[in-house]
Structure formats: C-alpha cells, structure tokens
Symmetry: C2
Subunit: 382 residues, 2 copies
Amino acid sequence: MRVMVLGGDGYLGWPTAMHFAAGGHEVMVVDNYLRRTIARSTGSEPLFEAPNLEARADIFGTIRDTPIEVAIGDCSEMMFLDPLFARFLPDAVVHYAEQPSAPYSMRGFHEAQLTLRNNLGVTFNLIWAVLRHKPECHIVKLGTMGEYGTPNIDIEEGWIAVGHNGREDKFLFPRQAGSLYHTTKVLDTDLLWFYVRTHDLRVTDLMQGPVYGLSTWECEGNLRLLPNFHYDDIFGTVVNRFLVQAVAGVPLTVYGKGEQTRGYLNLKDTLQCVRLAAEKPASPGELRIFNQFTEQFTVNELAARVKRVSAALRLPVEIRSIPNPRKEKEEHYYNAKHSGLLELGLQPHFMTDDVLTQMIETIIPFKADIDSNKILPRVRWS
Amino acid sequence: MRVMVLGGDGYLGWPTAMHFAAGGHEVMVVDNYLRRTIARSTGSEPLFEAPNLEARADIFGTIRDTPIEVAIGDCSEMMFLDPLFARFLPDAVVHYAEQPSAPYSMRGFHEAQLTLRNNLGVTFNLIWAVLRHKPECHIVKLGTMGEYGTPNIDIEEGWIAVGHNGREDKFLFPRQAGSLYHTTKVLDTDLLWFYVRTHDLRVTDLMQGPVYGLSTWECEGNLRLLPNFHYDDIFGTVVNRFLVQAVAGVPLTVYGKGEQTRGYLNLKDTLQCVRLAAEKPASPGELRIFNQFTEQFTVNELAARVKRVSAALRLPVEIRSIPNPRKEKEEHYYNAKHSGLLELGLQPHFMTDDVLTQMIETIIPFKADIDSNKILPRVRWS
C-alpha cells in the first residue's frame, strides 16, 4: 500500500510513518514544520530536539533498509499538495497536518486565524486532490474526542439515532468543542461528511483522546528516532506533562477541580489504530468514525497514579490545583463508547505502573533540560 | 441604533439597508461587489442592472433625506473590516457577506475554495472585530434552512433535546446540507456557537428559506432602488426563476420529481424578520436561532401556482421536468417549525395570486432583456 502521511514531522506523524514503513508499505511524509515554528515562537521547544525529517528518514533507512520519502511544504497551498499527490498517488492518506494546540488556538486573533485557515485549508485541499486524481484513495483523518465536548448523554462512535415526535433519523453525534482548535476539527468533520455523501469519498475519522508515551516499536534503542516530546502548556498533553513535572520535582498542576474525565491512549495504540484503519478502509460513500482511546480517567486519577509511581522511584511529588485557564466543565458525566477499533483488532497497551515507570526512566536523563517555566498555563480562554 | 449591513449590495442587503434607514436607524452598508463579479464571470447578470451602492445611497438619500453610509471593501480581509468596525461601532451587524450560490459553490475547486474562504473568513473576522471593539454588539447572521437538509424528523428552531440511554441533553439541531455553499453556513454556525459559549457573544442565526419578490416598501415607485433580480441558474431562486420563465414563454423547469419541499418567504418578510431580530437582540452568551420562512410548498405546487396565475394573465405556461442537476431527495418528509419570528411580531406576506401577479407585471417590461440561456442548469453536483 502507498501511504502518504501529512504532518509527518509531528508527535504522531513520524512514529506513524516508521510504523507503516516497517510494515512493508511505501511511505511519503509531508510537513512544513509548522509545529516547530510555533514551538520556537512561543518558547515551547520539546524536551529534546528531533532531527529534521530528511535526517530521520536517513537514519531509519540506514537501520531498516527501508526508504521513507520526504516532501517539505505547506499542504494548505494547493499548488504544493496537488502535484505531490498526483505524483505519489497514495492508496491511503493519513491526515495529521493540523495546528494541534488548543491553548495556541485561544491565544489571540492571529493564532486563531492561523489554526482555522491551516486546518480547514489542508482538509479542503486534500479532499480536492483525492477527487481530482484518485477518488478511491482512503482518507484517514485524525479527529479528536474533544469534538464531542462533555455531553450529558453517552458518547457513541460518531453517529446517533435520534427519535423525535414519533419519527427517527440517524445523524452525526452532536459536537461542541472546548477550544477553537477542537472546533476546527468539528468543521473538518462537517466538510468531509459533505464530500463523502455527494462525491462518494472513503473517509475514516479517528476521534482520538489525549495520547501519552514517547517510544514506539520502530525507535527502540535509537534516541534520534523518538518523536518530539512536549511537556509545555502549548503542546504537552496532560500525562506527558505530569511525568516531566514529577521528574523536575515541581508540583503536578491540576486545572480546577480535576474531575475532568477523558479517554486516553498509548502512542503505540495510535499507530495500531491508524494502521488497522488504513489496512481495512472505509467503503466509497462511507464516513466511518471510531472513538480512539483505551481507558477513561479523571485528571485527579492521573495525578494520583503519577504520584504513586514516582514515589516508588523515590521522586517525591506534590499535587496542586491551580485556577483553570480553560472554559470547561470540571465535573461532568462522561461515558464514551470505543468498541470499533477493538473489533478491528486493536490490542491495547494500558497505562500500567510499568509503562509510567519506563516513561519516567526515559525522561530522567533529560532532567537538566527541563524548563519549568514552560509548564504553567500561559494562555487563558477569556 | 447603529446598524452595519455586510453584503449590503445584495438581493437582501440593499433592501435591508433601506428598511433600517427608513426606520430611523443609522446605517452603514459594506460590500466588495463579489456577487456582481461572479455574475459577470459566469454570464449570470440580473434582469436589470442596479446602480452601484454609492449611487443607490445617493438616490435614497435624496428621496428620504436619510443618509446611508457606504464602504466598499472585502470583509474577509481583517485589515479592511477591523478599522471600519472600530470607527462605526455598530450596535448590530447584519451579516449577509457570503457567496450565496449553491450551484456556483459546486462548479469546481476554485469556486468551492472561494466560497469556503470568503464565507468562513468573513464570519471569523466579524467575530473578532466584535470581540476586540464592542463585545455587546449583536450579530444577526443569515443562515439557511438548507443547513438542516431534509431529515426524517420534524425540524425544530435550531436546537433539539436528545434523549439517549435514559439521559438527556440539548444540542444544535443536526445539520447536513446539500451543497458546499449550504455547508459553509453549517460551519459558520459551529464557529459562532463556539465563540458565543466561550466569549459570551450575542448572536441571532436566521435560518432562511428561499426568498421571492422584487419590491419592498422603500423602493416603491423607483426602479433604481429595486434589489438586483436574478433569474439564472446560479443566483436565481426558484420562484423568481419560474416567474421569469412564464414571462419569457419558456417551460418552467422542475428538477426531477419536483416533490422537494421547502419553506418560502416574501422579501418583505426577510426585512421584517431581520429588523425584529435586531430591535430585540439575543442576550450575551445566547445563540438564538429562528427558522425564517412563512409557508411550505413543493416545487410542483409552486409550478402549478405560477401556471395558474400566468394563465389568468394570458401567458400560456408549460411545466417540464428535467434531470435533477443536484444530489438531493426528490421525495421526503418535511415539517419545519417556524413560530419564533411570529412570536417576535412578524406579519407574514403570503404568496397570494395577487403577489405573483404583481411580480409578473413588474417583470413584463423587461421581457426583451430575458436571456433564456441563463435559466437551464449549467452546474451538476457530480
């Protein structure tokens, strides 16, 4: 299978590219280093600097004797994406090429505009590249569980049957997200669903929860193949952030009451999910939606786990509640279904004490590089 | 009240501006003539050429001794909209500044991109101009009934309570539109709802059905104050198109089976609805949604009415079914609620035989200008 990974430099993108290549697929990664640019401009550099894509592809190719093709450019520019797509003619495109930070998208007009234009622009261009050159190409789109928000009803996998005044119909599950970034993914879904039903595109939308982890099968033993690992308030997801706080010896900062519940997954499971989806594609005219996470926790539960595991490693950890910079419910009902990917063959890697211990042990050598100033929230929602 | 009308050159925009000005409000109209540009480039000029905005404002000002301020520019450029908004500081903004043609949005990549960028870009910039300069300003946004599509359940006014597995929550009514143009209005709604709930904007979203009519109170007796009147396949709404076909002596072209049902309203009622909404604004943090139409008809019923009225005027009319250029259900359930605007004070002008007769009599003097080549569909959905 020919697989194009848009946003191939990212936390998920590079491990995904390696995983497909190691699985025998022909892979092209595409990126314009937008995340690196934003990280530099906001003082949110990762814990260690990952080599650029050409260099990572060289290292990987040398070790595995498997090439990964690299293209550097902006997919929100059709003059870049269209000929690239037409030349590679992928069977599947994994679309990660979005500005992925909720706090960044809430920083001000410029950041919001960039997020909206980039995210929707790339999705739109990709749709048209597929329509023009290879309508049977399968789009695997990274959505987010955040699209659903925290409704007072069970969250189904993308769709819901609604009965009303004695009649019934099936609709996209209601979406109302908590940041502009998450809202752009709602818009992506609306746009994809329109072109799926009018032009018979094949799309899988993966509604992913927060991911944690910093090592995958294909990078074992080579630090230069690790994904970029963020622990800052802009790009750092909560588990990664807590683990770095534990290593740095600063308090774990819980936003508000800490009863926010989300569905989490291991980075290795992201790779499995994306590969499983690509290897068993959606049908023409199908928008297939999976909720992509393996376990639900509250933020307080996560903090307690990290504290417990850290204590065993003789890292004393304090948990501290700070004012919530976000506008979100801090106590709410949350019950999200997530059986679709298990049925497709996902073998979950749960958040065991061993997993957290290994992550902490990988972070410890970088302790001197941790900048605690990057961890506390610098962006407020209002 | 200070009222800014974005898209003030349009079929709805100019009559709205006159109506507010005649009602004693201070009015600024803003437009970049995008619709005129598209009309020229697609050979879809209106039945008669309306003077430009400056000229229309001059004529109106002379007759009524009431100024309408004119600003020409592109609201999707923040460097244009932001200082203009900051100077005028409106109490209400009526936002019509969108590419309004479904067929145009389905013509190809360029047209789709222009529609997406313009429509979402203007909405986004307007949100930020309000946030920056006058957060209490009320946004009156023209949505469309087409956002809902043709669901198999009753269409409520914007919101629906959903019961599921023994629990309940309230959500935006499901939206799945039939063209990219209509889909951009779904995206507008998602975007507005996000900023309403995070930043307490005041927004009224008017879900309008197809409008007909070519004269309003403020232009009676002066042809140069009439709105631009389109009868073509790109900008012409179905009633206006049928009436022109009747005058031209060509068959009324019904798309497919003709059982498509929609909610229609008179142009005069659009003006009432927008004024009523502006004079009684939404509260901070409220996205208030009204379904804006007064009567439901099938296309076949409309064609039969036009045929009957035309016969009385000795205009022989043939009704002809042609292959449907759109991808839409031609037979479907349709029952849309529309009590909110009546409760606000709307006095409907129904589609009586007299109303249709008057419209035909206004069109007859322009019979020689009708270009029948503009009427048949030139854009297919697939």
